[in-house]
């Protein structure tokens, strides 16, 4: 098979980086935009070999392996399975849309902006494709810098506050992830993720490693008590920043749960499942309730993200196939639908120069195409049958009821809330008393170009989800079976001298210790 020899994933990671470098030689703003668009389309074409993904195989495909720092066991190890291939595809597909939706929105420092976009893309693809813990961590952190700059330089009036909050929250969360990485290396003897998934660890070890990883991922998702950075970042970020944030970055948190927490520390995950389910339910209800009270359109969508991601984590922590499928579907769906909604808010903002609902009333009469698409995405957002989110939410509900009935029932108000705030918003935008909209043009060609692909996938996944099942099922089943492996009663190779650390240090002048 040709695609097996071609280093597809490396190309996907390094091609945008090469594009970044080339940007420095382009002076003209227009040229920069066209060039970046071209790069993003070529990147999309480079992802085509991923269509050769062999369905029904649980293992990793398109694997690339090369030593990196051999003396420390670091490897350049890439590969995708049914979970990550979808995320890689989503990341690559979002890039051209981001370029298009910032075509006229971003007017200053255009080159640097597109530099950040391309850099983000390579880091995000890297996160989903990395199979070496350290490589994963490198991409995971590297992506923070361009995202910080996207918010801090091109953001709204409160951008300084929002960007620093985003940066501090996520980086502080992931410092303990690094400790977990180190601990796994010592206990498992390798940085390679597929091998670490096969090993057994003691319960105590799993308990602490799960906690260290879960905090990092929960902040990224974000789950309920850690969500406060998200609305600030979403509202202040430029459109493309919001789209990337919603479509790709938030997925990294849930991807982390699927890739690390469940297969590597199953006993820890099982132990904390109740708590995680309750937090997920809290996110769903809280996100919906707060969204109901907002008057800023972007804030409504930001809080709706908290609710939607709550569904994803709920699906993950019910530990059954339906739930996991639903979670993965919701990750995709949220990326498409919420990304599209953010792009539409950006388009509305370019006309009204306001994100308040009250300044965007009555668009239905003058901007029918705009409102029609908005309606589609809004319906998709609360899971209307026939749209993509219905499939995902339905599966999550199925999984939740399979686990315990009360879990399923507790999530129902969340779905109702979603319908409430989305319909209320849509109604006012479509039929409200018009606020000086008569002069605004309807969607132009560029806007059609970035909204139609999203609309297509909303309906495609909604009506024919079959092929996606086939892609993800084998890997998810494999993941769930890995969770069944027994807890080890030892902590891998015992350290040469395991002293009590602090306890012993406290008895500093004592007689213990020594060679």
């Amino acid at each position: 098979m040709l695609s097996a020899q071609l280093p597809v994933l490396s190309l996907l990671i390094f091609f945008p980086l090469a594009g970044c470098v080339a940007l420095f030689w382009l002076g003209d703003e227009k040229k920069v935009r066209v060039f970046t668009l071209a790069v993003s389309l070529v990147e999309l074409a480079l992802a085509l070999p991923l269509l050769g993904f062999r369905l029904g195989e649980a293992g990793f495909q398109f694997v690339e392996h090369a030593p990196w720092v051999a003396s420390w066991g670091l490897a350049y190890y890439l590969g995708v399975d049914g979970i990550s291939v979808l995320m890689v595809a989503l990341t690559v597909a979002i890039l051209p849309l981001c370029v298009l939706c910032s075509w006229s929105y971003i007017a200053s420092r255009v080159r640097e902006f597109h530099f950040c976009l391309l850099f983000m893309t390579s880091a995000c693809v890297g996160v989903f494709a990395a199979l070496d813990l350290v490589l994963f961590y490198v991409f995971w952190e590297a992506m923070l810098i361009p995202m910080y700059l996207l918010i801090a330089v091109w953001g709204g009036p409160e951008r300084r506050y929002a960007s620093i909050k985003f940066f501090l929250y996520t980086l502080a969360g992931s410092t303990l992830l690094l400790v977990a990485v180190v601990a796994l290396r010592i206990a498992g003897g390798t940085f390679a993720i597929p091998e670490l998934m096969q090993k057994g660890y003691s319960f105590d070890f799993q308990y602490w490693v799960f906690l260290a990883m879960a905090i990092a991922f929960a902040i990224k998702v974000p789950m309920f008590p850690f969500h406060t950075w998200l609305p600030a970042a979403h509202v202040q970020a430029p459109t493309a920043g919001s789209v990337l944030l919603a479509s790709v970055l938030l997925k990294m948190g849930t991807y982390g749960f699927l890739r690390f927490c469940l297969p590597i520390t199953p006993a820890g995950a099982e132990h904390f499942a109740g708590l995680m389910i309750i937090i997920s339910l809290a996110s769903i209800i809280y996100g919906g309730a707060v969204a109901l009270g907002q008057s800023d359109i972007k804030k409504i969508i930001a809080y709706s993200s908290v609710g939607h991601m709550g569904f994803v984590t709920l699906g993950i922590f019910v530990f059954n196939l339906r739930g996991a499928e639903g979670a993965l579907f919701q990750m995709l769906n949220h990326g498409i639908t919420t990304g599209a909604l953010f792009m539409m808010v950006g388009a509305a903002y370019e006309r009204s120069h306001s994100r308040e609902i009250s300044d965007n009333l009555g668009l239905g009469k003058y901007l029918p195409a705009f409102m029609g698409l908005w309606g589609l995405f809004a319906f998709s957002s609360f899971g209307f049958p026939g749209t993509n989110s219905f499939v995902g939410e339905f599966l999550v509900f199925l999984g939740a009821f399979q686990r315990q009935a009360w879990v399923g029932f507790a999530a129902v108000p969340g779905a109702l809330l979603a319908a409430a705030y989305m319909l209320r918003l849509t109604q006012r935008m479509a039929w409200g008393e018009p606020s000086s909209v008569s002069g605004w043009p309807d969607l132009n060609f560029r806007e059609w170009a970035y909204l139609l692909p999203a609309a297509f996938f909303v309906l495609y996944i909604g009506l024919m989800p079959g092929v996606f099942y086939k892609v993800m099922d084998a890997s998810l089943q494999n993941m769930l079976s890995l969770m069944q492996r027994p807890v080890a009663h030892y902590d891998a190779p015992p350290a040469p001298q395991k002293s009590g650390g602090l306890l012993q240090a406290a008895g500093l002048a004592g007689r213990e210790g020594g060679r």
Partner: protein, 478 residues
């Protein structure tokens, strides 16, 4: 006399630099050559010479002076640091013209002392090399026009330094009295538990104190922020980086004596933890960028000590690698400070506002330096931290790794502040006409930033050198 010149090519080269500076200092009324026209290039040649001598090995002076992989590795870093520091200092606005030659003479002398220190494997030799490098620093610290703070910084450094040295000598006497040798190789055979020889332990702790003073580890850290603040930007760049190398190389050699579980190791672990926390918390409150970097040094001293905890080759190598990264990160930040403060004043965070418009290259270099100090990939700072954490985990000091990780979280705020001021805050009112950046400063800032990124993406070559050094050291000492 047991002297083999072929072993000490790199030191000899540095000595020739010192000698040349000495003669120029004597004859400056007769021949006056501009410093910047020759010194940096000779220092750059020195880096090449040191790289060339990387594989030299042997001992001389009856085993008190040892040229091995560790010493050669550190000599390369000293040469590299001296190159950048002297390049930086040639454009020093606050240096009185007539003292120019003496300044560089002492700077080169100090670097020479550090090179000797890298090879010293006997306590008296270590002590002599330490003093050689310190005395030169005492002389250059107050050289900042007629600045009173600089004088204060000089006095502080001398007084604290003298006390620390006295303590080290006192400790040395204990070691000699109880173990009857001053050779590290022999000392490594003894056990260093409190139970076996309490006096030796006390002596070693006191001797370590002298090194920890150079490293600015808690509780010997008080001088760092004040001295950096008082000294000129360029002098601070030197003081903040190179002397730490001397301290680190000696600590790594002594690290071969330490095993996990010893009282001294526990003590060092606690000091490291306190040092990180203290330094990071102190830095949070700073407005003066040099004071901020001073406190950050205290925190980084704590990180570096982590490498000594496990007492194996990996740990020592991690510490050695981190020393290299540390020097480069700080030189990058100080380079930017020195260039931005064209009149040589102290910079406050607000002075960095809008730097990305005034000089994009400086802002970018500062961002790389700051993110490296945080330990963010893809910079060398991340790789350094990863190596340190991995080495220290699983030897009974897991709590120290967790403390270090939490400290990294604290430190994000103030390092990010540097970037935030440079990138997101514009100077109100003054919309600066983008003046063309001097090629010189942009080029070398870029070189430093690229080096940091290179160490982050491909740490292999440098790290393997450190690892070989660590392995050789343990084979010899153990």
């Amino acid at each position: 006399m047991d002297f083999r010149p072929e072993l000490v090519i790199s030191e000899s080269f540095q000595f020739l630099v010192v000698a040349a500076l000495f003669f120029q200092s004597l004859l400056y009324k007769v021949v006056s050559i501009r410093m910047r026209s020759w010194l940096p290039w000779v220092a750059g040649l020195g880096v090449a010479v040191n790289l060339f001598c990387l594989n030299t090995q042997g001992t001389m002076f009856y085993g008190s002076y040892q040229v091995d992989q560790l010493s050669q590795y550190f000599k390369v870093i000293v040469a590299l640091g001296f190159f950048f520091a002297s390049l930086n200092a040639t454009r020093q606005p606050t240096l009185p013209h007539e003292k120019r030659y003496d300044y560089f003479l002492f700077m080169a002398l100090s670097a020479w002392g550090l090179m000797l220190m890298a090879s010293a494997v006997e306590l008296i030799t270590i002590y002599l090399a330490l003093e050689l490098s310190s005395y030169s620093l005492y002389a250059i610290l107050p050289l900042r026009s007629k600045d009173r703070q600089a004088a204060e910084a000089g006095i502080k450094y001398i007084l604290f330094g003298a006390v620390a040295t006295a303590l080290a000598l006192y400790g040395f006497s204990y070691i000699l009295a109880t173990q009857h040798t001053s050779y590290l190789a022999t000392l490594a055979i003894y056990t260093w538990t409190w139970a076996d020889s309490p006096l030796a332990v006390v002596g070693l702790v006191l001797f370590l104190g002298g090194m920890l003073y150079k490293l600015a580890l808690f509780p010997f850290h008080f001088w760092a922020p004040d001295v950096y603040q008082g000294a000129s930007n360029e002098t601070a760049a030197f003081v903040a980086t190179l002397p730490k190398l001397g301290a680190m190389v000696v600590l790594i050699r002594l690290g071969a004596l330490l095993t996990p579980g010893l009282e001294i190791t526990h003590l060092l672990a606690i000091l490291a933890a306190v040092s990180m926390t203290w330094g990071n918390l102190g830095a949070l409150a700073q407005r003066d960028v040099k004071r901020l970097l001073g406190y950050s040094t205290v925190a980084h001293a704590g990180y570096m000590i982590m490498g000594l905890m496990p007492g194996n080759a990996e740990g020592l190598a991690a510490a050695g690698f981190y020393a290299l990264v540390y020097v480069l990160m700080n030189l990058t930040c100080f380079w930017v400070l020195s260039r931005v403060a064209a009149d040589g004043r102290n910079l406050y965070l607000e002075d960095l506002n809008g730097l990305h418009r005034r000089s994009p290259a400086m802002a970018l270099a500062l961002a790389v330096g700051a993110f490296a100090l945080v330990g963010l990939p893809p910079t060398g700072g991340f790789m350094g931290k990863l190596f340190l954490f991995t080495a220290a985990w699983g030897h009974g000091y897991d709590w120290l790794v967790i403390v270090a990780a939490l400290n990294a979280a604290i430190s994000i705020y103030y390092y990010l502040n540097l970037v935030r001021h440079a990138y997101t805050q514009d100077q109100p009112g003054r919309e600066p006409a983008a003046q063309p950046e001097p090629r010189f400063s942009a080029f070398w800032a870029g070189a430093l930033a690229l080096l940091l990124l290179f160490l982050g993406v491909l740490p292999g070559p440098a790290f393997n050198l450190a690892l070989r050094a660590g392995e050789a050291l343990l084979k010899l000492g153990g």
